[in-house]
Symmetry: C2
Protein backbone atom coordinates (compact mmCIF):
# COMPACT_ATOMS: atom_id res chain seq x y z
CA UNK A 1 0.00 0.00 0.00
CA UNK A 2 1.45 3.35 -0.92
CA UNK A 3 0.41 6.91 -0.35
CA UNK A 4 0.96 9.50 -3.04
CA UNK A 5 4.03 11.60 -2.54
CA UNK A 6 6.49 13.77 -4.32
CA UNK A 7 10.11 14.64 -3.59
CA UNK A 8 9.34 18.27 -4.23
CA UNK A 9 6.50 18.85 -1.79
CA UNK A 10 6.46 18.32 1.95
CA UNK A 11 4.81 15.10 3.11
CA UNK A 12 2.37 15.83 5.93
CA UNK A 13 0.89 13.06 8.09
CA UNK A 14 -2.30 13.97 9.95
CA UNK A 15 -4.07 12.03 12.67
CA UNK A 16 -6.46 12.75 15.54
CA UNK A 17 -8.22 11.09 18.45
CA UNK A 18 -11.80 12.09 17.64
CA UNK A 19 -11.89 9.70 14.71
CA UNK A 20 -11.98 10.06 10.95
CA UNK A 21 -15.54 11.40 10.93
CA UNK A 22 -14.75 14.36 13.19
CA UNK A 23 -15.10 17.84 11.77
CA UNK A 24 -11.81 18.99 13.32
CA UNK A 25 -9.55 16.81 11.18
CA UNK A 26 -11.35 17.72 7.95
CA UNK A 27 -11.11 21.42 8.79
CA UNK A 28 -7.40 20.99 9.50
CA UNK A 29 -6.86 19.37 6.09
CA UNK A 30 -8.65 22.24 4.34
CA UNK A 31 -6.50 24.81 6.12
CA UNK A 32 -3.19 23.37 4.94
CA UNK A 33 -3.93 21.41 1.76
CA UNK A 34 -1.72 23.70 -0.33
CA UNK A 35 1.33 23.15 1.91
CA UNK A 36 2.19 19.61 0.79
CA UNK A 37 1.00 16.10 0.11
CA UNK A 38 -1.46 15.19 2.84
CA UNK A 39 -2.03 11.70 4.23
CA UNK A 40 -4.67 11.41 6.95
CA UNK A 41 -4.57 8.21 9.03
CA UNK A 42 -7.19 8.40 11.75
CA UNK A 43 -9.04 6.03 14.08
CA UNK A 44 -12.36 4.64 12.82
CA UNK A 45 -14.16 6.00 15.90
CA UNK A 46 -13.41 8.37 18.80
CA UNK A 47 -10.37 7.54 20.94
CA UNK A 48 -10.45 10.42 23.41
CA UNK A 49 -8.45 9.85 26.59
CA UNK A 50 -6.26 7.23 24.90
CA UNK A 51 -3.00 8.95 25.80
CA UNK A 52 -0.05 7.08 24.22
CA UNK A 53 -1.89 3.74 24.35
CA UNK A 54 -1.03 1.23 21.64
CA UNK A 55 -2.67 -2.02 20.58
CA UNK A 56 -0.67 -5.05 21.63
CA UNK A 57 -3.37 -7.73 21.75
CA UNK A 58 -5.39 -7.05 18.61
CA UNK A 59 -4.36 -6.99 14.95
CA UNK A 60 -4.72 -3.67 13.17
CA UNK A 61 -6.53 -2.84 9.95
CA UNK A 62 -5.59 0.00 7.60
CA UNK A 63 -8.14 0.98 4.96
CA UNK A 64 -8.00 3.62 2.24
CA UNK A 65 -11.22 5.60 2.55
CA UNK A 66 -10.76 8.35 -0.01
CA UNK A 67 -8.12 9.77 -2.30
CA UNK A 68 -8.36 12.92 -4.34
CA UNK A 69 -5.56 15.10 -5.69
CA UNK A 70 -2.81 15.39 -3.11
CA UNK A 71 -4.92 14.14 -0.19
CA UNK A 72 -5.52 10.58 1.04
CA UNK A 73 -7.67 9.44 3.94
CA UNK A 74 -7.10 6.12 5.71
CA UNK A 75 -8.83 4.72 8.75
CA UNK A 76 -7.55 2.20 11.29
CA UNK A 77 -9.09 0.27 14.17
CA UNK A 78 -6.25 1.45 16.41
CA UNK A 79 -5.33 4.29 18.71
CA UNK A 80 -3.78 7.59 17.60
CA UNK A 81 -0.30 6.17 18.36
CA UNK A 82 -1.15 3.05 16.32
CA UNK A 83 -2.12 5.35 13.43
CA UNK A 84 1.32 6.97 13.51
CA UNK A 85 3.34 3.77 13.95
CA UNK A 86 1.41 1.74 11.38
CA UNK A 87 1.35 4.42 8.70
CA UNK A 88 5.06 5.17 9.10
CA UNK A 89 5.76 1.47 8.66
CA UNK A 90 3.34 0.69 5.82
CA UNK A 91 2.50 3.81 3.80
CA UNK A 92 5.65 5.78 3.18
CA UNK A 93 9.07 5.26 1.70
CA UNK A 94 10.33 8.37 3.48
CA UNK A 95 9.74 10.10 6.78
CA UNK A 96 6.90 12.63 6.78
CA UNK A 97 8.22 16.20 7.07
CA UNK A 98 5.50 17.14 9.52
CA UNK A 99 2.99 15.37 11.74
CA UNK A 100 -0.22 17.13 12.78
CA UNK A 101 -2.74 15.83 15.29
CA UNK A 102 -6.23 17.31 15.65
CA UNK A 103 -7.84 19.69 15.54
CA UNK A 104 -9.20 18.22 18.73
CA UNK A 105 -12.75 18.99 19.82
CA UNK A 106 -11.92 20.14 23.36
CA UNK A 107 -8.83 21.67 24.97
CA UNK A 108 -5.72 19.69 25.94
CA UNK A 109 -4.08 22.16 28.27
CA UNK A 110 -2.49 21.67 31.68
CA UNK A 111 -2.12 18.07 32.75
CA UNK A 112 -4.64 16.95 30.10
CA UNK A 113 -1.68 16.34 27.81
CA UNK A 114 -1.02 13.20 29.87
CA UNK A 115 -4.40 11.66 28.92
CA UNK A 116 -4.81 13.18 25.48
CA UNK A 117 -4.78 10.91 22.44
CA UNK A 118 -4.20 14.01 20.33
CA UNK A 119 -0.96 14.71 22.17
CA UNK A 120 -0.13 10.99 22.38
CA UNK A 121 0.13 11.03 18.58
CA UNK A 122 2.20 14.22 18.58
CA UNK A 123 4.58 12.77 21.20
CA UNK A 124 4.90 9.63 19.08
CA UNK A 125 5.96 11.73 16.11
CA UNK A 126 8.44 13.48 18.34
CA UNK A 127 9.88 10.18 19.63
CA UNK A 128 10.54 8.94 16.11
CA UNK A 129 12.00 12.23 14.95
CA UNK A 130 9.19 13.91 13.00
CA UNK A 131 8.44 17.58 13.79
CA UNK A 132 4.99 17.30 15.36
CA UNK A 133 2.19 19.61 16.45
CA UNK A 134 -1.05 18.87 18.32
CA UNK A 135 -3.94 21.32 17.84
CA UNK A 136 -6.95 21.57 20.16
CA UNK A 137 -9.94 23.88 20.19
CA UNK A 138 -11.60 24.76 23.48
CA UNK A 139 -15.02 23.41 22.47
CA UNK A 140 -16.48 19.90 22.48
CA UNK A 141 -19.21 20.88 20.03
CA UNK A 142 -19.14 18.41 17.11
CA UNK A 143 -20.08 21.32 14.83
CA UNK A 144 -17.68 23.81 16.40
CA UNK A 145 -16.47 26.76 14.32
CA UNK A 146 -12.78 26.22 13.52
CA UNK A 147 -12.38 29.16 11.16
CA UNK A 148 -10.40 31.32 13.61
CA UNK A 149 -7.84 28.50 13.99
CA UNK A 150 -6.73 28.89 10.39
CA UNK A 151 -4.11 31.58 10.94
CA UNK A 152 -2.22 29.88 13.79
CA UNK A 153 -2.44 26.50 12.06
CA UNK A 154 -0.89 27.85 8.87
CA UNK A 155 1.69 29.97 10.69
CA UNK A 156 2.86 27.13 12.92
CA UNK A 157 2.98 24.62 10.05
CA UNK A 158 4.99 26.97 7.86
CA UNK A 159 7.42 27.82 10.65
CA UNK A 160 7.94 24.21 11.66
CA UNK A 161 8.31 23.01 8.05
CA UNK A 162 10.93 25.70 7.54
CA UNK A 163 12.83 25.49 10.84
CA UNK A 164 12.03 22.06 12.29
CA UNK A 165 11.75 21.63 16.05
CA UNK A 166 14.37 20.87 18.71
CA UNK A 167 15.08 17.17 19.28
CA UNK A 168 12.53 15.35 21.49
CA UNK A 169 10.20 18.36 21.46
CA UNK A 170 6.72 18.77 19.96
CA UNK A 171 4.19 21.57 20.26
CA UNK A 172 0.88 21.51 22.13
CA UNK A 173 -1.21 24.33 20.63
CA UNK A 174 -4.55 25.18 22.25
CA UNK A 175 -6.94 27.69 20.73
CA UNK A 176 -9.80 29.27 22.70
CA UNK A 177 -13.25 28.85 21.16
CA UNK A 178 -13.76 32.60 20.80
CA UNK A 179 -13.77 34.58 17.58
CA UNK A 180 -11.34 37.36 18.57
CA UNK A 181 -8.01 36.08 19.82
CA UNK A 182 -5.58 38.37 21.64
CA UNK A 183 -2.44 36.70 20.30
CA UNK A 184 -0.04 33.87 21.05
CA UNK A 185 1.67 32.95 24.32
CA UNK A 186 4.44 30.35 24.47
CA UNK A 187 4.11 28.95 27.97
CA UNK A 188 4.39 26.01 30.31
CA UNK A 189 1.85 23.40 31.35
CA UNK A 190 -0.20 24.65 34.33
CA UNK A 191 0.06 22.57 37.50
CA UNK A 192 -3.16 20.91 38.52
CA UNK A 193 -5.17 17.74 38.33
CA UNK A 194 -8.57 16.41 37.39
CA UNK A 195 -10.80 15.83 40.35
CA UNK A 196 -11.82 12.22 40.62
CA UNK A 197 -15.55 12.37 40.50
CA UNK A 198 -17.66 9.43 39.44
CA UNK A 199 -21.36 9.32 38.81
CA UNK A 200 -22.34 6.18 40.73
CA UNK A 201 -25.42 4.38 39.38
CA UNK A 202 -27.19 1.07 39.83
CA UNK A 203 -27.89 -1.01 36.73
CA UNK A 204 -31.23 -2.79 36.09
CA UNK A 205 -29.72 -5.92 37.69
CA UNK A 206 -28.92 -4.11 40.93
CA UNK A 207 -25.20 -3.82 40.33
CA UNK A 208 -23.05 -0.72 40.77
CA UNK A 209 -21.40 1.10 37.89
CA UNK A 210 -19.52 4.37 37.56
CA UNK A 211 -19.27 7.08 34.89
CA UNK A 212 -16.18 9.24 34.85
CA UNK A 213 -16.90 12.93 35.38
CA UNK A 214 -14.88 15.65 37.07
CA UNK A 215 -13.28 18.98 36.35
CA UNK A 216 -9.78 20.40 36.16
CA UNK A 217 -8.41 21.85 39.37
CA UNK A 218 -5.91 24.57 38.43
CA UNK A 219 -3.39 24.97 41.26
CA UNK A 220 -2.05 28.27 39.90
CA UNK A 221 -4.87 30.16 38.15
CA UNK A 222 -3.11 33.54 38.50
CA UNK A 223 0.19 32.44 37.02
CA UNK A 224 0.76 34.18 33.69
CA UNK A 225 3.45 31.69 32.64
CA UNK A 226 0.89 28.90 32.25
CA UNK A 227 -1.20 27.67 29.34
CA UNK A 228 -4.38 27.77 31.43
CA UNK A 229 -3.87 31.47 32.13
CA UNK A 230 -3.27 32.20 28.45
CA UNK A 231 -6.43 30.38 27.38
CA UNK A 232 -8.56 31.93 30.12
CA UNK A 233 -7.43 35.37 28.93
CA UNK A 234 -8.13 34.89 25.23
CA UNK A 235 -4.68 33.88 23.98
CA UNK A 236 -3.57 30.88 21.95
CA UNK A 237 -1.23 28.78 24.13
CA UNK A 238 1.82 27.00 22.75
CA UNK A 239 3.59 24.59 25.11
CA UNK A 240 6.78 22.89 23.91
CA UNK A 241 6.48 19.32 25.22
CA UNK A 242 9.09 16.63 25.65
CA UNK A 243 8.86 12.86 25.44
CA UNK A 244 11.66 12.60 28.03
CA UNK A 245 9.86 12.29 31.35
CA UNK A 246 13.03 12.26 33.47
CA UNK A 247 12.78 14.75 36.35
CA UNK A 248 16.36 15.97 35.89
CA UNK A 249 16.50 18.40 38.83
CA UNK A 250 15.45 15.57 41.17
CA UNK A 251 18.14 13.05 40.16
CA UNK A 252 20.54 14.22 42.94
CA UNK A 253 17.67 14.22 45.48
CA UNK A 254 16.81 10.60 44.70
CA UNK A 255 20.49 9.62 44.58
CA UNK A 256 20.85 10.99 48.09
CA UNK A 257 17.71 9.12 49.22
CA UNK A 258 19.12 5.78 48.04
CA UNK A 259 22.70 6.47 49.14
CA UNK A 260 21.81 5.72 52.76
CA UNK A 261 20.40 2.46 54.09
CA UNK B 1 -17.97 0.55 49.48
CA UNK B 2 -15.10 0.93 51.91
CA UNK B 3 -11.70 -0.58 52.21
CA UNK B 4 -10.28 -1.49 55.59
CA UNK B 5 -7.93 1.06 57.00
CA UNK B 6 -6.43 2.33 60.19
CA UNK B 7 -5.11 5.74 61.16
CA UNK B 8 -2.09 4.05 62.67
CA UNK B 9 -0.80 2.13 59.67
CA UNK B 10 0.14 3.43 56.23
CA UNK B 11 -2.52 2.94 53.57
CA UNK B 12 -0.94 1.46 50.43
CA UNK B 13 -2.79 1.36 47.10
CA UNK B 14 -1.46 -1.16 44.56
CA UNK B 15 -2.35 -1.52 40.91
CA UNK B 16 -0.75 -2.91 37.76
CA UNK B 17 -1.31 -3.27 34.03
CA UNK B 18 -0.92 -7.04 33.71
CA UNK B 19 -4.25 -7.60 35.44
CA UNK B 20 -5.34 -8.97 38.78
CA UNK B 21 -4.36 -12.55 37.89
CA UNK B 22 -0.71 -11.68 37.19
CA UNK B 23 1.95 -13.16 39.43
CA UNK B 24 3.80 -9.84 39.71
CA UNK B 25 1.14 -8.01 41.70
CA UNK B 26 0.64 -10.91 44.11
CA UNK B 27 4.38 -11.18 44.69
CA UNK B 28 4.49 -7.43 45.34
CA UNK B 29 1.76 -7.71 47.97
CA UNK B 30 3.62 -10.53 49.74
CA UNK B 31 6.82 -8.46 49.84
CA UNK B 32 5.26 -5.51 51.67
CA UNK B 33 2.21 -6.85 53.49
CA UNK B 34 3.68 -5.96 56.88
CA UNK B 35 4.22 -2.30 55.92
CA UNK B 36 0.60 -1.16 56.05
CA UNK B 37 -2.99 -1.76 55.05
CA UNK B 38 -2.97 -2.95 51.45
CA UNK B 39 -5.69 -2.31 48.89
CA UNK B 40 -5.11 -3.81 45.44
CA UNK B 41 -7.27 -2.40 42.63
CA UNK B 42 -6.25 -3.96 39.34
CA UNK B 43 -7.69 -4.44 35.85
CA UNK B 44 -9.66 -7.63 35.24
CA UNK B 45 -7.36 -8.56 32.34
CA UNK B 46 -4.03 -7.40 30.88
CA UNK B 47 -3.79 -3.73 29.90
CA UNK B 48 -0.19 -3.58 28.67
CA UNK B 49 0.60 -0.58 26.48
CA UNK B 50 -2.30 1.42 27.91
CA UNK B 51 -0.15 4.37 28.92
CA UNK B 52 -2.27 6.96 30.80
CA UNK B 53 -5.43 5.97 28.91
CA UNK B 54 -8.71 6.39 30.75
CA UNK B 55 -12.23 5.20 29.98
CA UNK B 56 -14.51 7.98 28.84
CA UNK B 57 -17.11 6.06 26.84
CA UNK B 58 -17.81 3.02 29.03
CA UNK B 59 -19.06 2.78 32.59
CA UNK B 60 -16.70 1.21 35.10
CA UNK B 61 -17.26 -1.69 37.48
CA UNK B 62 -15.46 -2.16 40.79
CA UNK B 63 -15.73 -5.57 42.44
CA UNK B 64 -14.31 -6.86 45.72
CA UNK B 65 -12.58 -10.13 44.89
CA UNK B 66 -10.97 -11.11 48.16
CA UNK B 67 -10.36 -9.70 51.61
CA UNK B 68 -8.22 -11.21 54.33
CA UNK B 69 -6.53 -9.54 57.26
CA UNK B 70 -5.11 -6.19 56.17
CA UNK B 71 -5.30 -6.93 52.43
CA UNK B 72 -8.17 -6.35 49.97
CA UNK B 73 -8.27 -7.17 46.26
CA UNK B 74 -10.62 -5.39 43.86
CA UNK B 75 -10.90 -5.72 40.11
CA UNK B 76 -12.17 -3.19 37.57
CA UNK B 77 -12.96 -3.30 33.87
CA UNK B 78 -10.84 -0.19 33.38
CA UNK B 79 -7.29 0.84 32.66
CA UNK B 80 -4.56 1.26 35.29
CA UNK B 81 -5.35 5.00 35.48
CA UNK B 82 -9.06 4.18 35.92
CA UNK B 83 -8.09 1.88 38.81
CA UNK B 84 -6.32 4.75 40.56
CA UNK B 85 -8.99 7.41 39.90
CA UNK B 86 -11.96 5.19 40.74
CA UNK B 87 -10.49 3.72 43.91
CA UNK B 88 -9.41 7.13 45.22
CA UNK B 89 -12.93 8.38 44.64
CA UNK B 90 -14.89 5.37 45.92
CA UNK B 91 -12.84 3.30 48.37
CA UNK B 92 -11.05 5.61 50.76
CA UNK B 93 -11.85 8.36 53.18
CA UNK B 94 -8.22 9.49 53.12
CA UNK B 95 -5.40 9.71 50.62
CA UNK B 96 -3.25 6.56 50.37
CA UNK B 97 0.22 7.16 51.78
CA UNK B 98 1.84 5.25 48.93
CA UNK B 99 0.86 4.03 45.47
CA UNK B 100 2.68 1.05 43.95
CA UNK B 101 2.25 -0.20 40.39
CA UNK B 102 3.52 -3.60 39.25
CA UNK B 103 5.56 -5.59 39.50
CA UNK B 104 5.31 -5.52 35.74
CA UNK B 105 6.19 -8.59 33.71
CA UNK B 106 8.65 -6.90 31.34
CA UNK B 107 10.88 -3.84 31.62
CA UNK B 108 9.64 -0.26 31.31
CA UNK B 109 12.91 1.51 30.71
CA UNK B 110 13.85 4.22 28.20
CA UNK B 111 10.94 5.61 26.22
CA UNK B 112 8.74 2.66 27.20
CA UNK B 113 7.52 4.76 30.10
CA UNK B 114 5.44 6.68 27.54
CA UNK B 115 3.43 3.57 26.58
CA UNK B 116 3.51 1.75 29.90
CA UNK B 117 0.27 1.24 31.80
CA UNK B 118 2.38 0.46 34.87
CA UNK B 119 3.93 3.91 34.72
CA UNK B 120 0.62 5.50 33.65
CA UNK B 121 -0.75 4.50 37.04
CA UNK B 122 2.34 5.76 38.87
CA UNK B 123 2.15 9.10 37.03
CA UNK B 124 -1.53 9.34 37.95
CA UNK B 125 -0.64 8.94 41.62
CA UNK B 126 2.00 11.60 41.21
CA UNK B 127 -0.48 14.01 39.55
CA UNK B 128 -2.90 13.71 42.45
CA UNK B 129 -0.19 14.02 45.08
CA UNK B 130 0.42 10.46 46.26
CA UNK B 131 4.06 9.29 46.49
CA UNK B 132 4.16 6.67 43.73
CA UNK B 133 6.51 3.97 42.47
CA UNK B 134 6.31 1.74 39.40
CA UNK B 135 8.20 -1.57 39.53
CA UNK B 136 9.10 -3.64 36.46
CA UNK B 137 11.06 -6.88 36.06
CA UNK B 138 13.00 -7.50 32.87
CA UNK B 139 11.13 -10.72 32.01
CA UNK B 140 7.80 -11.35 30.30
CA UNK B 141 7.60 -14.88 31.71
CA UNK B 142 4.20 -15.26 33.47
CA UNK B 143 5.98 -17.47 36.05
CA UNK B 144 9.03 -15.25 36.40
CA UNK B 145 11.05 -15.39 39.62
CA UNK B 146 10.49 -12.13 41.52
CA UNK B 147 12.35 -13.13 44.68
CA UNK B 148 15.40 -10.95 44.03
CA UNK B 149 13.10 -7.88 43.73
CA UNK B 150 12.18 -8.11 47.39
CA UNK B 151 15.05 -6.07 48.79
CA UNK B 152 14.69 -3.04 46.48
CA UNK B 153 10.89 -3.12 46.79
CA UNK B 154 11.04 -3.00 50.58
CA UNK B 155 13.86 -0.47 50.66
CA UNK B 156 12.16 1.92 48.25
CA UNK B 157 8.76 1.61 49.96
CA UNK B 158 10.24 2.26 53.39
CA UNK B 159 12.26 5.26 52.16
CA UNK B 160 9.32 6.80 50.32
CA UNK B 161 6.90 6.19 53.19
CA UNK B 162 9.36 7.90 55.49
CA UNK B 163 10.55 10.77 53.27
CA UNK B 164 7.87 11.22 50.61
CA UNK B 165 8.88 12.26 47.11
CA UNK B 166 9.38 15.69 45.53
CA UNK B 167 6.23 17.29 44.11
CA UNK B 168 5.18 16.04 40.62
CA UNK B 169 7.80 13.26 40.75
CA UNK B 170 7.37 9.48 40.87
CA UNK B 171 9.90 6.67 40.58
CA UNK B 172 10.32 4.24 37.69
CA UNK B 173 12.23 1.26 39.12
CA UNK B 174 13.38 -1.48 36.74
CA UNK B 175 14.97 -4.68 37.97
CA UNK B 176 16.97 -6.98 35.70
CA UNK B 177 15.78 -10.59 35.58
CA UNK B 178 19.07 -11.94 36.94
CA UNK B 179 19.69 -13.41 40.38
CA UNK B 180 22.79 -11.41 41.34
CA UNK B 181 22.30 -7.66 41.11
CA UNK B 182 25.26 -5.29 41.19
CA UNK B 183 23.43 -2.48 42.99
CA UNK B 184 21.26 0.55 42.32
CA UNK B 185 21.76 3.37 39.83
CA UNK B 186 19.61 6.51 39.90
CA UNK B 187 19.62 7.63 36.28
CA UNK B 188 17.80 9.24 33.40
CA UNK B 189 15.61 7.77 30.67
CA UNK B 190 17.76 6.58 27.73
CA UNK B 191 17.07 8.28 24.40
CA UNK B 192 15.70 5.96 21.75
CA UNK B 193 12.57 4.67 20.14
CA UNK B 194 10.75 1.49 19.23
CA UNK B 195 11.18 0.51 15.62
CA UNK B 196 7.89 0.43 13.80
CA UNK B 197 7.71 -3.09 12.57
CA UNK B 198 4.45 -4.78 11.72
CA UNK B 199 3.89 -8.40 10.83
CA UNK B 200 1.64 -8.04 7.77
CA UNK B 201 -0.75 -10.98 7.19
CA UNK B 202 -3.75 -11.81 5.05
CA UNK B 203 -6.89 -13.06 6.79
CA UNK B 204 -9.01 -16.01 5.49
CA UNK B 205 -11.19 -13.45 3.65
CA UNK B 206 -8.24 -12.01 1.74
CA UNK B 207 -7.93 -8.83 3.77
CA UNK B 208 -4.76 -7.32 5.23
CA UNK B 209 -4.08 -7.11 8.92
CA UNK B 210 -1.05 -6.12 10.98
CA UNK B 211 0.45 -7.31 14.27
CA UNK B 212 2.64 -4.89 16.18
CA UNK B 213 6.20 -6.14 16.67
CA UNK B 214 9.50 -4.27 16.86
CA UNK B 215 12.41 -3.70 19.18
CA UNK B 216 13.88 -0.82 21.15
CA UNK B 217 16.53 1.20 19.37
CA UNK B 218 18.85 2.65 22.00
CA UNK B 219 20.47 5.82 20.63
CA UNK B 220 23.08 5.95 23.39
CA UNK B 221 23.98 2.39 24.47
CA UNK B 222 27.36 3.43 25.94
CA UNK B 223 26.01 6.24 28.10
CA UNK B 224 26.40 5.32 31.78
CA UNK B 225 23.88 7.97 32.87
CA UNK B 226 20.97 6.04 31.34
CA UNK B 227 18.59 3.42 32.66
CA UNK B 228 19.26 1.14 29.69
CA UNK B 229 22.99 1.10 30.50
CA UNK B 230 22.30 0.31 34.14
CA UNK B 231 19.99 -2.60 33.28
CA UNK B 232 22.33 -3.98 30.61
CA UNK B 233 25.13 -4.01 33.19
CA UNK B 234 23.24 -5.77 35.99
CA UNK B 235 22.07 -2.78 38.03
CA UNK B 236 18.61 -1.80 39.23
CA UNK B 237 17.66 1.48 37.53
CA UNK B 238 15.69 4.21 39.30
CA UNK B 239 14.48 7.09 37.14
CA UNK B 240 12.66 9.99 38.82
CA UNK B 241 9.85 10.87 36.40
CA UNK B 242 7.70 13.96 36.13
CA UNK B 243 4.11 14.43 34.99
CA UNK B 244 5.04 17.91 33.72
CA UNK B 245 5.90 17.40 30.07
CA UNK B 246 6.88 21.01 29.42
CA UNK B 247 10.24 21.22 27.63
CA UNK B 248 11.45 24.12 29.78
CA UNK B 249 14.80 24.72 28.08
CA UNK B 250 13.00 25.09 24.75
CA UNK B 251 10.49 27.75 25.81
CA UNK B 252 12.78 30.63 24.68
CA UNK B 253 13.54 28.81 21.42
CA UNK B 254 9.84 28.50 20.58
CA UNK B 255 9.15 32.06 21.76
CA UNK B 256 11.77 33.23 19.29
CA UNK B 257 10.24 31.09 16.53
CA UNK B 258 6.83 32.69 16.98
CA UNK B 259 8.13 36.21 17.60
CA UNK B 260 8.77 36.70 13.88
CA UNK B 261 6.20 36.52 11.15
Amino acid sequence: MEAPMSEKRPLILITNDDGIEAKGVHELVKMIEDLGDIVVVAPDSPRSGQSSALSVGIPLRLTLVEHHGNISFYRTNGTPVDCVKLSINQLFDRRPDLLLSGINHGSNSGVSIVYSGTMGAALEGCIIGIPSIGFSLGSHDPNADFSHCREIVRESCRKVLENGLPRSVCLNINIPAIPHLKGIRVCRQAQGYWTEEYDHRIDPHGKDYYWLTGHFMNLEPENEETDEWALAHGYISIVPCTCDQTAYPEIPVIQELFATK
